[in-house]
Symmetry: D2
Subunit: 334 residues, 4 copies
């Protein structure tokens, strides 16, 4: 484990508890974090230098949870040392670096996976099932709001910090499940506290009027994580802040014939047209599933929904959004 | 009153109840609506032809609540006949027509007002007070979501149907209160059921990183009317579907010094930083306030927050959004 | 129609709109209410004296929406004059009077019905269906909270004002649907503003551990109308203040075997065990259904879920609760 | 630490992290729990026999988190051995045993404290402040609902399991803050799955119409933790399941003069009369505060809001409720 900051302890806990994984060593440059790591896990080798960990012959796989701008260098060294690698999202700060890592992993015949945690949640798996089974009908749009009063990241804007969550969910539910690919993106933002944008509105275009939109924001009064996936037959609303009913399925299709017949006077009256249900979700911790998927990829060559190909695809969208942001929101073709 | 369809009866009821207004005549081309009007108001003159109502010498002011594409013709005739005119939003389907009406009213020395109902609600007035008093600090952004499973309008897309609400609120709270003017707009949409867009994402740019964004949608599973006005000191969330606490004020400012000192490890932990309060609102019906504001404009020459100048400004934004929509979301300078 | 106060206008509107009913005359002792009635319905005979209305030969049925203590006298006179009678809830302020009215109606072969509005709502009908179909399993308890900051009634305590709603729903769902009868009641209350209790906790006992509990309160900060009907297989929560999902059905049965096996350490972990769904409800206005049920009773002899027998049963519970209240909450056998 | 089951690990974690406390030894009769304790805390002495821990000369204070029926025996032995003692709630299963423990602690000059966790939360402290400062006015009632689909306790009914939470909060806010004492209790329950009641309605009477009511339930579809403390000036609603606004203060006093003037026709219209605010709460973990309060009591003789006197008072109410439950809900004087 390289990086024992905000997210690292969660990864260590899950890898330590996993049936097919053992944590051997933790590296963190910060002495206070080293001390915490050693106190919590007295039997592990805690080091300050990532190079020492990478060189450790007992280590088969390296997990990297450090700031984005260090991902490329660390992952590269680990792959060159013949280790499997799991990187925090996003894979790298540029498409060029992400692609180079993917190719290196390919050449080294090692697993390169990204921790797109959300695609391992019960909620997203349920949504994927609703989409793939055709229960939603034709998917019309994907709309996600991920806003809260969060700490600003010093090196990147809010897009690189929060949007990977929404884009990986969108990629999993639309591209990996339905086989449709994003064709363009656009991004508009504003920066109220310095150089980096603290809010952004992102749009992703697909063929046939399928559209995705994401609102990410570090300066919002209420924490909101709401994703709507609207289909021609049913619609899903996923409220990730709701402990009891996070996923709701609405039987609220629009009937075009019906519309034509209705008098204009009845406008706005009908705003739901059927039952609503909230399916019970798989409650397993997403990180536990993710870490064991990584283990299966390393040990069995099993596929994963957040492999290097997906990781590159997400970085490609992020980079295109960054370009759109710098060009007044112009569409950038992928 | 011309038009006794969906909205007309509400207007008649309020003008009938008003201290300074009397309803004299109702016109509607639809016989069934004429019959309903006559049954409800046996003492009024109900006619089929708007021209007859406009010619009525007892009529001092004409209220127009008909489909958008008829606004220009009807308002023009009424103003030419020397009547004051109140038109449903939006004022007209083009800037050219809206400006012509405004100039005609000016020449005729008659009042031309638009029924921007929301600016007469207790909620919007409270938000205006919070902005004008400086309680919010510097306004950072305006974000509004107005989505539901609504009836499609046959002649226009969702922007012309729903966005006037958000744009008039935004204009009132930002332009009329703070004196800042929108400088550009952009719009992206999708049409899943025919020619007209049924969902759209609209952005409005101002100077100094002030930005507004509106999501309007006729095909959404849950009715949502949520507007956030974020300031540097406090933030307001207005949920117009909440009967008890529609307006909440959050003491959730971002302290830049504070951010710099915080360790990255504490990211995401703090998502509210102070008290929340929900002020009691003026509960008067907005239409009652609006109708008496119109009466005061006609009788006393009193000003109104939805006069012809504002009406033209809103149509200018709508027209620019339409152009952006047809050009892949490109910015259109106002 | 006798009484054109708070509720009367709603009744008149529904009887006027009904296919099988015509409103002929309105009586109200208050001149201001007479004036309002006449202005709203210019073609009706509006009188001050209820006796004149009762004597009116064109009147076939009398609807009484006056203060509770006048119900007995007015209903008696109307029945004696050979009219059918619909009375606002509760039927009368004592069992003796309620029974006398029921017997009088029987003798006169006239309909005596009570306006237990809630049993005519789509929500209660849906709950009745869930109970009668066995979908809930064995019913375990009925728990209802009906509290808000309401106006105090000058002549009665909160039990007589609000509890009839809960007791009629309970009677409909349990007694009329399952055939079980309440065997005892108890009541505890407090009066913070004068003579009459402004809050009360009511319990109703049935056989086999089936229990009902009602919290009624005029001095509560948040308006709450929440009823839980728990079954051995599923549980229903009806939140009458929720516009979108008033009725939710929880698949949350308790498995006794399961409990025995679980370790004490897992206590509190599992708080829902299955899907939740919110059925679409019949949206017809309850008063419209109620008024036409009354018409069908008068014209066709059709049965109703709020006939005189039910009306007497409800008054019997209210009177017993009153007695319990005055005896420190002691159980009163019905 | 005696007992490393459901709650024990939380206590150990907090005592281990506390500035003035050190964990020396853990005792649990269950080998699996011993193993877990040893794995988590390799440096601690983990034993199977509580007697060994009590005899340990390095141990100054014993924390007991075992089933209720063992509290008396373990606490007694620990006090006799000269240790300070902290017991999980409730202190003991009978008043006789609770009083004996309190007297023994007194004689031994050792601290005997109960883990009434909730009185150490930021929410309860805020409510206490609102009451003690007079901001609420005269307190009218305390109403608490604590229901969910929980695991049944094998040895006790739901009253002994859940009601201690509500009673300790009530005792803290009313008795310790205002100096008023409960004078009687009553309890009604039902047992749908065996011998012990799984739901109960509890009432506690004070002087001057002050009343408290608690609904505890192991078989409810939705987890609810809602406490209302109504005052003559303001009212507090504490929703412990709400992450963002758990405590809300309503300016919703009832004005008696006002009531007298209102017409009966306006009944039910006004259901809030002022602003609502949600104060920011102290976010410190309650167990951390509790454990350090215990340390201060042991080391400095500092007072605590959950000392032996309070612990006995709570058991006295529980025992009286049990008696009422077995006598058809009759009032039991305290």
């Amino acid at each position: 484990m390289i990086g024992f900051g905000y997210w690292g302890p969660n990864l260590v806990r899950n890898f330590a508890a996993g049936a097919r994984t053992t944590v051997v060593s933790i590296a963190d440059a910060n002495p206070a974090r080293q001390q915490l790591a050693q106190a919590t896990y007295p039997h592990l080798r805690v080091v300050g230098d990532a190079a020492a960990l990478i060189a450790d012959p007992e280590v088969d796989a390296v997990v990297i949870a450090t700031p984005i701008f260090t991902h490329y260098e660390l992952a590269k060294r680990a792959l060159e040392a013949g280790k499997h690698v799991l990187v925090e999202k996003p894979l790298a700060p540029s498409v060029a670096q992400a692609e180079e890592l993917a190719e290196l992993a390919e050449r080294q015949r090692r697993v390169l996976m990204v921790d797109h945690t959300f695609v391992y949640t019960g909620a997203v798996k349920k949504i994927r099932d609703l989409v793939s089974s055709g229960e939603l009908g034709r998917v019309l749009y994907f709309d996600s709001v991920r806003i809260n009063l969060g700490l600003f990241q010093p090196d990147f804007n809010v897009i690189w910090d929060l949007a990977p969550h929404d884009l990986t969910i969108m990629d999993y539910v639309l591209s990996q499940t339905l086989g449709v690919q994003a064709t363009w993106v656009s991004a508009i933002g504003a920066s109220h506290y310095g150089r980096h944008e603290n809010l952004a509105y992102l749009t992703v275009g697909f063929a046939d009027q399928l559209i995705a939109h994401v609102h990410v924001n570090w300066v919002a009064p209420v924490k909101t994580r709401r994703t709507i996936i609207a289909g021609s037959k049913k619609m899903v609303v996923w409220d990730d802040t709701s402990p009891v009913e996070p996923v709701k399925v609405y039987e609220s299709s629009v009937d075009v014939q019906h519309i034509a017949k209705e008098a204009a006077y009845e406008l706005n009256v009908q705003y739901r047209s059927g039952d609503i249900y909230s399916p019970k979700l798989d409650g397993k911790e997403a990180l536990a599933v993710m870490s064991q998927t990584f283990a299966a990829a390393c040990l069995d060559g099993a596929p994963s929904p957040s492999d290097a190909t997906v990781g590159v695809r997400i970085v490609r969208m992020l980079e295109a959004m960054q370009r759109s942001l710098e060009h007044a929101g112009q569409r950038v073709v992928l």
